[in-house]
């Protein structure tokens, strides 16, 4: 049973359920906070760091997905926006000691004036000295990431403009180019005064970037804004643009405005993510913002489900997990061990093939390909056990994490191109299995009545025998005026059993039988 795409949730649910949903959301947030507290107190610092990284990258992927998933534009320049936010935040909150060190360093490219730029000096000039104490660093950090976001949003405005004239692949290349231009120009003479060239700023506080409270707080804010946007009229307009630009424009939607709006909002959150990211890393350097970052985000989006915020977060969790806990993949092992691993991977693939086929109800469940995989696995194990001379030596799995992620991405694209959860969005209704994937029996009956001339020779709107139906007045008038036979083509949906027109014997009181007709 396929879940239907979430319809725009808005006042659709009855008020009691809305209250319940809000209550459930608060309970879930409360529980989430408790779990985070627990993890923070008992978990290792590695775990909290990984959670914080998940939240930071979550901000980046959810915002990137506004362009890629909702607006339907493949953007490859997200690392550029993050860089702008990262450098802005870094420069603005660098502490005095670090500034002094940079100034006295021989290779520094910064000047006294550029080093004087900070949130502290801004607040001083505004006479807000109370906010410049060490205890109020968090206020300054908040201001810094906000300003970083604004700077990135401005860049998003500029990058958004070519998107008005270009489409598809060409636009993707342009966004990629912009990302690289931003990264490369940061090291040029023009900006080196503010970015310290290739050196960057070391010694940034990790107090915020590694705090799960800060990062999850920002993530919650991001998800709130972007999901509210997605499920508003503006989000519908953006999705309409994704579906068909010509039609969207013919329905009065201003393409330019909505595309640029999407870029600006997305870039803002990318900038904020960049600010948290440099804090997590404890410094700012050019190679923290390689294209690889955008690649990881794209893997997360595609793996989780393009266009779905829930899916994107799921994908991000997967990618962050592999990044943080994938070290064993990159260790040095003997070739014999590698061969044994390969055998294990083949066994796993064979098992997945069988699982996949049984989930899809494909027959035979044990396809020959699974046999081939299993055979190859046995071969690998046997060779590893014999340990012939050519298996001497060791090999370091350098870059194996990226390879692993790429293979995973290929597998997902082959077997489930819509991503793990497709376009579906988490909702309480879905969790409680309230989401309707088809009509009720009553509606089936009504539909059969409307579309089947055998049941309804006079073409009236309402089956007098069925339960209370309340079609709207114009609908009733419409049907009355019609000539009898509404011989509607059978919907595709009816083949899935969601359309009532071919199943008059479906419910107990479905349509009237011949007797009742007379």
């Amino acid at each position: 049973m396929a879940l239907h795409q979430t319809p725009t949730a808005f006042d659709d649910v009855d008020p009691r359920k809305r209250v319940r949903n809000v209550a459930l959301t608060f309970v879930a947030i409360g529980l989430g906070v408790l779990v985070l507290m627990l993890l923070e107190s008992i978990g290792s610092s590695k775990l909290t760091q990984s959670l914080a990284l998940f939240a930071i990258w979550g901000v980046a992927t959810v915002s990137l997905n506004l362009i890629n998933g909702t607006l339907g534009i493949l953007s490859l320049g997200h690392h550029g926006f993050m860089l702008i936010g990262g450098y802005t935040t870094g420069l603005l909150i660098l502490d005095e000691a670090a500034r002094a060190r940079i100034l006295t360093s021989a290779r520094s490219m910064m000047t006294e004036e550029s080093l004087a730029i900070s949130v502290t000096s801004m607040l001083r000039s505004l006479g807000l000295d109370a906010l410049t104490t060490p205890e109020t660093l968090w206020v300054r950090f908040l201001i810094a990431i906000f300003l970083g976001g604004l700077m990135a949003a401005f860049a998003g405005l500029i990058v958004g403009i070519p998107s008005l004239r270009l489409r598809g692949d060409y636009l993707a290349i342009v966004t990629f180019g912009f990302g690289e231009i931003i990264r490369l120009s940061a090291s040029t003479r023009l900006f080196a005064e503010y970015t310290n060239g290739a050196l960057g700023f070391p010694g940034l506080t990790s107090e915020f970037g590694k705090s799960i409270w800060w990062t999850f707080g920002v993530l919650a804010f991001t998800v709130f804004v972007i999901s509210k946007l997605k499920f508003s009229s503006y989000g519908r307009a953006m999705q309409a643009i994704r579906e068909d630009e010509v039609a969207a424009q013919a329905m009065g939607i201003n393409l330019a405005y909505h595309k640029v709006l999407g870029f600006v909002i997305s870039a803002f959150f990318a900038g904020v993510a960049g600010g948290l990211w440099v804090s997590w890393l404890g410094g700012v350097r050019l190679d923290f913002f390689l294209f690889q970052l955008t690649f990881f985000f794209l893997v997360a989006i595609s793996a989780g489900g393009t266009g779905s915020i829930t899916g994107v977060l799921l994908g991000t969790a997967l990618v962050v997990f592999v990044r943080q806990y994938g070290d064993p993949l990159e260790q040095t092992y003997t070739l014999q061990q590698w061969l044994a691993f390969a055998g294990g991977a083949l066994v796993l693939m064979a098992a997945l093939a069988v699982l996949f086929r049984s989930l899809r109800r494909l027959r035979p469940r044990f396809h020959w390909s699974a046999g081939v995989l299993a055979g190859a696995a046995v071969l690998a194990f046997v060779i590893a056990a014999i340990d012939p001379a050519f298996l001497e030596g060791t090999f370091r799995g350098f870059g194996m994490r990226a390879i692993f992620l790429s293979v995973l991405l290929i597998a997902i694209m082959v077997f489930r191109p819509e991503g793990m959860i497709g376009r579906n969005e988490f909702s309480w209704a879905m969790l409680l299995r309230e989401r309707r994937s088809g009509p009720t029996d009553e509606e089936r009956g009504q539909d059969a009545w409307l579309t089947n001339p055998v049941l309804n020779p006079r073409g009236t709107d309402v089956d007098p025998e069925a339960g209370p139906q309340k079609p709207t007045a114009p609908g009733r008038a419409a049907a009355r005026e019609l000539d009898a036979d509404w011989d509607e083509g059978v919907d595709e949906a009816s083949r899935d059993g969601t359309d009532g027109s071919r199943a008059p014997d479906d419910g107990p009181d479905d349509g009237p039988d011949d007797e009742r007709r007379r």
């Binding site: 239907h4 508003s232 009229s233 009065g252 019609l482 000539d483």
Partner: protein, 271 residues
């Protein structure tokens, strides 16, 4: 004063003249049909009016105001909406979302108040839903109940055509350009859509220009018929006047193949 005035419209694609000095007027409350053999330039006229193409020369006035060179979305704001010959729905969105998205251009709040769900936004969103159901109700209850939340890709072809017409109505336009509204519909569905188009004018207050191949439909509802052939207007008048016009008969029957096609159309469209 006519609602829509099209004057000396020329458009060519490379060497091919798609419309050649086409002029016509549409008065408020009229149903005007544009007919003509395949490739006569009917859809091109729609594309020129809605700003998808820019005419090489000529003028298009809507409510007395020239709309040549305006963006497609601006023209919708002024009050002209259309459907497409080959259906251009937002297939992954639901029926309701499709019809709602056509009202977005009239939304009078910023994106920020939409995110914050301000009372003004909520009121407008509710109003948009009312309008959406009102327009969908033209087609009977079939698009109303559970179909409202079904994605368009599960709909039948006829239901997609209906959804597209509801979407065009929902834009708030006064003039609707319908490009072959009955294409792909069976005879009884065609009969039904004929009634609905008339009700769209009578009850909805829309002015309608439509392109059609099914002569039965054209003859039944048109106040006026315009005939195009090779990009040129060759006749204009009531349905009877036009079908008896020798030039029109020649345009259709001049070629043997066209003659057969006409017969076939008469059979399916007029029964």
């Amino acid at each position: 004063m006519a609602m829509l005035e099209v004057a000396h419209l020329n458009k060519s694609f490379g060497g091919l003249t798609a419309t050649n000095d086409v002029s016509f007027d549409v008065a408020e409350g009229e149903i005007v049909s544009i007919i003509g053999p395949n490739g006569a330039g009917k859809s091109t006229v729609f594309n020129l009016i809605t700003g998808v193409y820019r005419p090489d020369s000529g003028d298009i006035r809507f409510g007395g105001r020239s709309i040549v060179g305006m963006g497609t979305n601006r023209i919708v704001d002024l009050g002209i909406a259309r459907t497409f010959q080959n259906l251009r729905l937002f297939t992954n969105l639901t029926v309701l979302e499709n019809v709602l998205s056509a009202q977005h251009h009239a939304l009078r709040t910023t994106w920020l108040s939409a995110v914050l769900r301000t009372p003004s936004y909520r009121r407008q969103e509710r109003r948009m839903r009312e309008i959406a159901t009102e327009k969908l109700a033209f087609f009977g209850p079939r698009l109303m109940s559970f179909r409202l939340n079904q994605p368009v890709y599960v709909l039948s072809y006829a239901n997609r055509r209906r959804t597209e017409m509801a979407r065009a109505m929902a834009t708030g336009a006064k003039l609707l350009l319908l490009d072959e509204p009955s294409a792909g519909m069976n005879p009884s569905e065609t009969k039904e859509i004929t009634q609905i188009i008339r009700r769209m004018r009578d009850e909805g207050g829309y002015t309608i220009v439509l392109v059609e191949h099914k002569m039965g439909l054209v003859g039944e509802i048109s106040d006026r018929v315009i005939v195009l052939d090779y990009g040129q207007k060759i006749a204009e008048g009531s349905y009877r006047q036009v079908v008896d016009d020798p030039k029109v008969i020649e345009a259709y029957l001049g070629k043997k193949a066209a003659a057969e096609r006409i017969e076939e159309l008469e059979e399916t469209g007029e029964r």
